[in-house]
């Protein structure tokens, strides 16, 4: 399609030639670990998919304690392809978090966080936290007994945090227990507050990646390598991978549509063997390792403090790994990264099997 008049109209007003030159000048290093570069793109694609399917669901969802469950049933059973879009939204969320973790652990092991890319790590880490909160808030919107119990446990766990725990719990619940206020609050987070923050952070994250360029692993810095243009070479490869991911999400959505449980009843006992979403399992298993009291202190509080310390250390790795920032190899932080990954995988597997 060639529209010279339209092209001229835009070129008279905007510096399209400059943008074209900028796109042509963007280069991506080609090496044996360059597959990791695509994990960020996949996550971005899944986020876009989540925004689109979420918008469709928001057209029919009713964020009220009396009608939330019924509206979901209506979306799934009465709307044309409603079951499919809900399933797509569910599996898109699961895969987005899987790829976020893969992207995060890849960045950690390749030391892509090292100077001057600390802020890229910081924005990415906050995005992971937001995505997990996206998952938790979206889970409650279903308003079935499992979601209700899981959110009650999660917000209760936040309440065990010393000093500010009570405030966090009250802020999340909006009431003394998980009620209609919590549902409305989580809905506001899920469809308004978190998307805006996510968009801003994704924008900043991508901008920082463009500013610094793609990171090359330390072990390959001295090697001779080829740089390939982002447009069109890497972009077309991205496109192919996105199509495969789209196919995987659609297949999962069709073959394994997520179940809907019984409507939440605040007075009913929680269902047996209640488990949170898979990305919370490692935390739950860690909490189980601690006894009820330790030296007279509440065991749960100490466990939550330990988990928080672990996450904080993980977040601060770019600032603690001095050797990498000097361009030297730092096997200590490679081992720390491996320990984090193994711990996360083992605890998640234990959570599934228990």
């Amino acid at each position: 399609m060639n529209c010279p008049r339209l092209k001229d109209w835009f070129e008279e007003r905007y510096d399209l030639r400059g943008i074209r030159l900028l796109a042509r000048e963007k280069l991506v290093p080609e090496h044996r670990y360059d597959l990791w570069y695509y994990t960020g793109g996949i996550t971005l694609f899944l986020f876009i998919l989540q925004f689109l399917t979420g918008m469709l669901m928001a057209l029919y969802y009713v964020p009220h304690v009396k009608f939330a469950y019924e509206s979901i049933i209506e979306i799934v059973t009465k709307l044309n392809m409603g079951w499919f879009f809900r399933s797509l939204h569910h599996w898109g969320a699961q895969l987005a978090i899987v790829f976020l973790f893969i992207h995060l652990f890849g960045t950690l092991l390749l030391k892509s966080y090292r100077k001057p890319r600390e802020m890229v790590w910081v924005t990415g880490f906050i995005l992971l936290g937001i995505s997990i909160f996206f998952g938790l808030s979206g889970y409650l919107l279903l308003w079935d007994e499992r979601a209700f119990a899981a959110v009650r446990v999660a917000t209760g766990g936040a309440g065990a945090f010393p000093v500010i725990g009570g405030f966090i719990k009250a802020f999340l619940r909006g009431s003394i227990d998980v009620t209609g206020d919590t549902l409305l609050r989580f809905y506001a987070f899920h469809v308004a507050i978190l998307p805006i923050v996510t968009l801003a952070l994704i924008g900043l994250h991508i901008l920082l990646v463009q500013f610094h360029g793609m990171s090359v692993p330390l072990s390959l810095e001295g090697e001779k390598r080829r740089d390939i243009p982002f447009f069109p070479n890497v972009f077309l490869k991205d496109l192919m991978i996105w199509l495969v991911v789209l196919g995987a999400v659609v297949t999962l959505a069709v073959l394994l549509p997520p179940e809907i449980g019984v409507q939440a009843d605040p007075l009913a006992p929680p269902p047996e063997n209640i488990k949170p979403e898979w990305y919370f399992l490692f935390m739950l298993e860690t909490l189980k390792l601690f006894p009820g009291t330790i030296l007279g202190f509440n065991g749960e509080t100490i466990a939550i403090l330990c988990v928080t310390a672990g996450i904080l250390f993980f977040f601060l790795i770019p600032f603690l790994d001095r050797k990498s920032s000097r361009g030297e190899k730092s096997p200590l932080f490679t081992w720390i990264g491996v320990i984090y990954i193994v711990y996360f995988l083992v605890m998640t597997a234990m959570g599934f099997l228990s």
Partner: protein
Amino acid sequence: MQALGAFEKIIRLSLRRLAGPVVTALFTLAYAVPCLAAEPVAVFPGVPYDGYIVYESLAVFWIVLVALIVVIRMKLREIERTQQLGAAEEDPNAPLLP
């Protein structure tokens, strides 16, 4: 006297004596019905024909995806070949056409 004894036995087996437990059992069962496991919500089209259409669409979707990937791959190889030949680079000494 024998007839009286038989009559007493009939009374003993009469519905009047069974009425109490029967009514209690009926009430218990009737009360327990809503407590039985709720029917799961159908999260996939229940009619076999609709299910078949969905699986068929999934197969067609994958065929289209693979076709698209093949087309993009061919285009990428063509671009790479052009880049290797150096044909994509602009020649600064190329004469301008009037």
